[in-house]
């Protein structure tokens, strides 16, 4: 699982920083999370595999999270895309995009499927054989969801050194072994699965929480995830302003991370009033040490930041 930060600024785009957008790549699936103005160019700069994106997740309909979506959709059209695109976002996102397509007289080469969200409870919104995605209800000035991406448990790994000692085990038996079944020979001899296989590789998880005020309700939903991105628009001294504007401080982000026993915290969505960002990390580290600062076009490889040997 790898996360590329395309932009992490709040509110107004500047020459140096782009509004929020992230690309999560896991098990050969490419998920785009939020899409501020300029995201399509950031994807190019990141040398992302544009055409592999089939699912876009929009947390809420504030401009710094969605104004780049119509441009991306239009460029996919001009590039001759044929595959359907799935867009998950708050109720209203369909009207937002379709009004623009109608008025700009855009004739699409591919279909758009809108999955409009209205629930205030966490719900499963995507599932395939390898990945599940849930909403994380957030607490902002407008209806907002975070998203929880979870790899399903992987198959067990074949212990070839042992398996090769049993000539009766054929290649066609491997899939059953990976799925945890014992080996039973034609003569009825049983070899326990745990003697033939190793535990599966780690299944990663990622929780995306932006924008939101501090709310402990998210803790049970994101319990134990490998990486949590949590907005921290302000430093701790502006907790009142954070509450008023529906945002969090770095201390609050760290408190969520600590209580949810996540392994890593990435901060972001900093207010433009701050020029030096290391203070956000310093403040959060006082509560939760494994805190990272985002960088534009930086890719976090979860294997590395979780110190998992594969």
């Amino acid at each position: 699982m790898k996360l590329t930060i395309l932009g992490f600024n709040s509110a107004i785009p500047t020459v140096r920083s782009h509004p929020t957008s992230q690309l999560l790549v896991t098990r050969n699936r490419h998920f785009l999370i939020d899409c501020g103005e300029g995201t399509q160019v950031q994807l190019r700069k990141a040398q992302a595999k544009f055409s592999k994106i089939d699912h876009i997740f929009i947390s809420h309909l504030h401009g710094d999270h969605v104004f780049g979506l119509i441009g991306l959709i239009s460029s996919f059209n001009l590039l001759g895309r044929k595959k359907a695109m799935n867009i998950y976002g708050p109720k209203g996102i369909k009207e937002l995009i379709e009004t623009q397509l109608r008025l700009t007289e855009s004739h699409k080469s591919y279909s758009l499927n809108f999955i409009e969200l209205t629930s205030t409870q966490s719900e499963l919104i995507y599932e395939d054989e390898k990945v599940m995605i849930y909403t994380i209800p957030l607490y902002h000035r407008i209806y907002t969801n975070g998203f929880l991406f979870k790899e399903k448990t992987r198959l067990r790994r074949l212990n070839m050194e042992v398996i090769e000692q049993y000539p009766e085990i054929q290649i066609c038996d491997y899939q059953n072994l990976k799925m945890g079944k014992d080996f039973v020979s034609e003569e009825g001899k049983v070899i326990k699965n745990e003697n033939l296989t190793l535990p599966p590789k780690h299944s990663y998880s990622y929780a995306y929480c932006s924008d939101t005020m501090f709310n402990m309700n998210v803790v049970p939903i994101i319990e134990g995830t490998d990486v949590l991105y949590h907005e921290s628009t302000f430093l701790g001294d502006l907790e009142d302003l954070a509450y008023k504007t529906g945002h969090s401080t770095s201390l609050q982000a760290a408190t969520i991370a600590k209580n949810a026993h996540v392994k890593n915290l990435i901060l972001g969505h900093f207010s433009n009033r701050y020029t030096e960002l290391s203070v956000f990390r310093d403040e959060a580290c006082s509560v939760f040490p494994n805190t990272w600062l985002p960088e534009e076009l930086k890719t976090f490889d979860f294997k590395d930041i979780c110190n998992i040997l594969e």
Copy 2:
């Protein structure tokens, strides 16, 4: 009159090029022309005086000319703008913007005045004491206007060397002299205006024509302008494709420039299929020598390219 090219690419934004947008500054008025995605950041890069823009002109509702408008409008709001903003564009632009403002729950700190255009004849859409702006009906796949910006004739300049020889001429007389009136002393002595003043400075004009197929109907409207920007999406060998897509070739742009007796031609809106742009200039120069290529963030000072001594 100065024109800053913010972007001149057609269709899809790339890492190196932005879609169409230009900033025209004349007589201390700042006019924004078209507003593709990323325009607000280009304005920052150009160190433009953001807050001085009170009038935005949108030629047509294709994304590469308008997708940056909602972001710019939102940023003006976040920056606390109070002055009204006037937006000139095809019928539909009001719905395009207002739908987005409603769905993103944006509460504006300033008012937006939409001047929706429907005429297929050139019309005066803006006038103040120094500048007039007319539409230039264009011929594209969707309703499109170019824009003609004309400075009004300036005041005559005082010839101070002569005036100082007449002690009876007071400072309070200067305005009448600038307006071309003769000086009449209290005793009834008349001094001819032409003896006291010099001709006014040159009044500049700029014609913006994008996007359009080749059509000689624009020629009488833009006759004699100092600078013409005319799209040239393709080179001359793709004239058929240009016709089919509602665009022009560089030869056609130059033909318009020549027939309209403009002083300078700037090309732009090149198809992404071309990497080397000097061929556009070479081709156009064979018909119309005073042809310029655009460069991102380049400012054309009309005084310089028109060789006018002030």
